[in-house]
């Protein structure tokens, strides 16, 4: 009897802060939290998916593939949603009897699985998104650098069986760019407490806040990470600072907690129905904001 995972019909507002736990993205998150793969993922009634939900769907498909149980997908009835997912290249993550279509580069959406060692995937994704996002001058390289950094973080620290999935979309009308980076390895708490400096961290919430501070890393003192590299704990804090500088938001979801931080309000914290085994970083840039100007007076 095939196991079918039917994604609900309720539209996904994509607002972590609203915490609409009935929205379909949360269905996907719950399923992904437990690494529950399915034989069939039924998107028949799906009206829309945000990048983080797409990343989770593709992550589930990759998990199933790793278990040699490829997942079949039932495409959305809604033609617009089906075309949207096809343009992203989502069908390629599932059994071929979905709805075949080549991903259409040059649109405002992109999804990729990235494996170690990463190449120019981050740059490619930002290129796709920037074609519709009207990024201010100088923003493109910063976005690429920081996306590269977060991808490397995921591939280095997570011990994820699917490596990582990156999904992004530009929203020209609201002048936002959203990028989700998903791994299904260990939680931030699991990684951070491997460093004796942070062994006292007890909760997922504390671990996420600690990881957002500059200079915090799970790599123990005197050691290198599992890729043989040194760490200084810059990734998430640098991304947070840059993202927030332009009025954007950064959401980090790991274990039983998600935290959304922005400059305009105190961090918003939510709890998950089931602990999420892995980490999802959702970046929401506000492209009309004043992203941090470059500090170009050389010190060295």
């Amino acid at each position: 009897m095939p196991q079918t995972f039917s994604v609900s019909a309720k539209a996904d507002g994509g607002e972590f802060v609203d915490g609409d736990s009935a929205a379909l993205a949360w269905d996907v998150l719950r399923r992904t939290a437990d690494h529950q793969t399915a034989d069939v993922i039924d998107l028949s009634h799906c009206p829309h998916l945000k990048p983080y939900a797409i990343a989770c769907l593709c992550g589930l498909a990759e998990l199933a593939r790793a278990d040699r149980r490829p997942t079949r997908i039932v495409p959305p009835i809604d033609a617009g949603c089906a075309a949207h997912l096809a343009r992203l290249g989502v069908p390629a993550f599932f059994e071929p009897e979905g709805w075949g279509a080549e991903p259409a580069w040059g649109t405002n959406v992109a999804v990729r699985r990235v494996t170690w060692p990463p190449g120019n995937e981050g740059e490619r994704i930002v290129e796709v998104l920037s074609s519709r996002a009207e990024l201010p001058a100088g923003v493109f390289p910063n976005m690429v650098e920081l996306l590269d950094e977060i991808i490397r973080n995921a591939l280095t620290h997570a011990e994820s069986p699917i490596e990582c999935i990156v999904a992004g979309q530009a929203f020209p009308h609201t002048q936002k760019v959203e990028v989700a980076v998903l791994d299904l390895g260990q939680t931030i708490l699991g990684h951070l407490t491997k460093n004796p400096r942070h062994a006292g961290v007890r909760t997922h919430r504390e671990a996420i806040f600690r990881a957002l501070e500059d200079g915090v890393t799970g790599t123990p003192d005197g050691q290198r990470n599992r890729r043989g590299e040194q760490n200084s704990g810059a990734g998430l804090s640098a991304l947070r600072a840059y993202c927030e500088s332009g009025g954007g938001e950064l959401t980090v979801l790991s274990g039983d907690v998600w935290v959304t931080s922005s400059q305009t309000r105190p961090p918003v914290i939510g709890t998950l129905y089931r602990p999420f085994r892995g980490c999802l970083v959702n970046i929401r840039y506000s492209t009309h904001g004043n992203l941090t100007p470059l500090d170009v007076e050389p010190i060295l």
């Binding site: 390289p141 040194q230 990734g235």
Partner: protein
């Protein structure tokens, strides 16, 4: 003066940042000064910048490096990435291998 030129690959990994710093340090052991040309480099991740800059600052002060190591033709984003790494180092942040192991 030793001359080093980087190719046009974006500078991404901490491992490669450490390799460049090690090469610069080796050149400074041999020569009085070194010139590194970044003309072909468009981007540099924080990981790369931190590994490179912090490895250099572990041996030399900012003033010594300014005298002996010319970092030429850097783009604005490369300068900004290196500046951030310098500020972090001066603020007390170190690479994992530069911190003494705790028991």
């Amino acid at each position: 003066m030793a001359d080093m030129k980087l190719d046009n690959q974006p500078l991404r990994s901490a491992g490669n940042g450490e390799i460049l710093a090690t090469a610069i340090l080796a050149a400074l052991d041999r020569d009085e000064s070194v010139r590194v040309d970044f003309a072909q480099v468009e981007m540099m991740t924080p990981s790369y910048a931190n590994a490179m800059v912090m490895t250099l600052l572990d041996r030399f002060t900012v003033a010594e490096l300014k005298t002996r190591c010319e970092l030429a033709n850097r783009s604005a984003v490369v300068i900004a990435a290196m500046n951030t790494a310098v500020r972090r180092y001066l603020g007390g942040i170190r690479l994992s291998t530069q911190r003494h192991a705790t028991t």
